[in-house]
Amino acid sequence: MLRLEPRPAPSRAWTWGSPLLALAITVVIGVILFSAMGKDPVRGLQVFFWEPVKSAYALGELGVKATPLLLIALGLAVCFRSNVWNIGAEGQFVIGAIAAGGVALLAGKDTGRWIVFAVLLAGVLGGMLWAAITAFLRDRFNAGEILVSLMLVYVAIQLLGYLVYGPWKDPAGYNFPQTRTFEAVTQIPKLMTGSRVNVGALIALAGAALLWVFLFRTRGGFAQQVGGLAPAAARYAGFSSRRALWTALLISGGTAGLAGALEVAGPIGQLTPYVPAGYGFAAIIVAFVGRLHPFGMVLAAILMSMFYIGGELAQSRLGLPKSLTGVFQGLLLFTLLACDTLVNYRIRLGRGR
């Protein structure tokens, strides 16, 4: 008979060991799944874990997908550490993309390079505005942020649909639901030729460093987390819970909006109904798998990016549905949560006491 015995203090080793164990279990389930579908499991693993890192170009693509995941996860980590359950980052991402796209569409042939800053700023503000609705309704009306932020995802996607099917549709686009391609001047500068990875990757890494400083070296970051861990202590210390709520949502809205701007003015280059690619939801997994720690989330974002690329390759090379990505992402979070038991509990054999 197995029994859980509480540890006196959370295990540091398992705090970082648990994501690795969860990944191992997910891989084992993956192998079983590949075999069950009559595919070579070694080939399957190759597609997910080797192909995305085997060449400079592949690494660039890895960076392209890891960038929005990391940026969004950074903001979500602030939310989750403050016990604010923003699960609507996907909507904030979409509104950021719409705002950035709106500015990018204003650019003409003779616009200066400064437009890139305007595009990114618009994205940040758009995401913040969308998250502010959730913060306002929670603050003023006590409405649960989980459901409100999630409902706003659907609203944001419909808004994008309205724009690309309606007023912003490219008149010369053969009636496809998409805006015209943005002027070249709005393109986010690429890091190197021959790869799609752009300065967004650097912004995301700088963001991770900034988050580390904010969380672990500033009073504001400390106040933010005390509210999440011990609301009573935070009240006693005079840390405002309203302030923490607004800070968390505005930061995460801003990073999600920035990710949206980088995406439409970077790899995509126009607004289409396919802008929402689930990064906002996958970033939740990145945040948890990365232990809400900036460094951990960098690794987790790369891992989740591998899942995305692996899913696409599994479709083109192995003839498996692309949705395999979602299956593995969900499984990883599931197993992680189960493995996290080991952080706070020891497994003992036999009946205690």
Binding site: F141, N142, V148, M151, Q158, G166, P321, S323, L333, F334
Partner: protein
Amino acid sequence: MDAYALLLAATLNAGTVLALAALGLLINEKAGIVNLGAEGIMLCAAIAGFATVVNTGNDWAGFAAGMAAGAVLAAIFGWLVIWLNTNQYATGLALSLFGVGFSAFVGIRYVQAKLPERPQFNWLGLGDVPTLGPALFRHHPLVYGAMLLAAGLIWFLYRTRGGLVLRSVGESPQSAHALGYNVRLIRLLAVIFGGAMCGLAGAYLSVIYTPLWVEGMVAGKGWIALALTTFATWRPARVLLGAYLFGGVTMLQFHLQGQGVQVPSQFLTMLPYIATIVVLALISRNPTWIRVNMPASLGKPFHPGG
């Protein structure tokens, strides 16, 4: 007049999906567990039910398959949150994310599948009564099933010993434990019931309501069902009423389009989601009212003996 009869009929039909799911979720919330995995469960059940009906041709086998899928997923969720004390929000979210991916993965073979034509129902011949007939007496049995379920839950929760025990587990698990009730087992059963009902709702959606399989077809109905329990301040009758209200909002968009109202369809599609937000804000405005009605241990873990 007949347009309104059809609108009412469509409202009851659409509300049934929400009612079945929300009544199930009501039970596990009464026991103190929030299951944010409702959306994922409904999706997996929708494809399980649809695939079963495609292969067997039997609707009721499809419902059973949907319920079984929902119960199994809910049991896994329940084991994690009740025995391993994982965070209820995070675990439910994991279930929803997994459900979206898994249902799409399994469902890809059924995207083009068609279900056989079903006979029209006409209960006791009342379906031929003008206006009232088409509005009320031509529905699928599960439409009435949802109403009976609500009535049954009112009776169970407030008139039986079992209901009292369930509510006490949700209000004060420590006291229920001290009285000798197996809090964890009761919570698990409540979670499984919730999952099975979400499963039935998902299967009804794909087998009867739509009836076809589309990736992500639940489209937030699981989340709206979660909002409904708050909206109803955890009372079964109000859950049912709320479900029909939201069913009506969903149908209103088609009605308005039929009436030639010139609003872009995307804004009409937004309606149920915006309505959910507005209603949540209005209901939650009074924190005391919510606190009085909400099961006191909702979302909080319970450690026996600890």
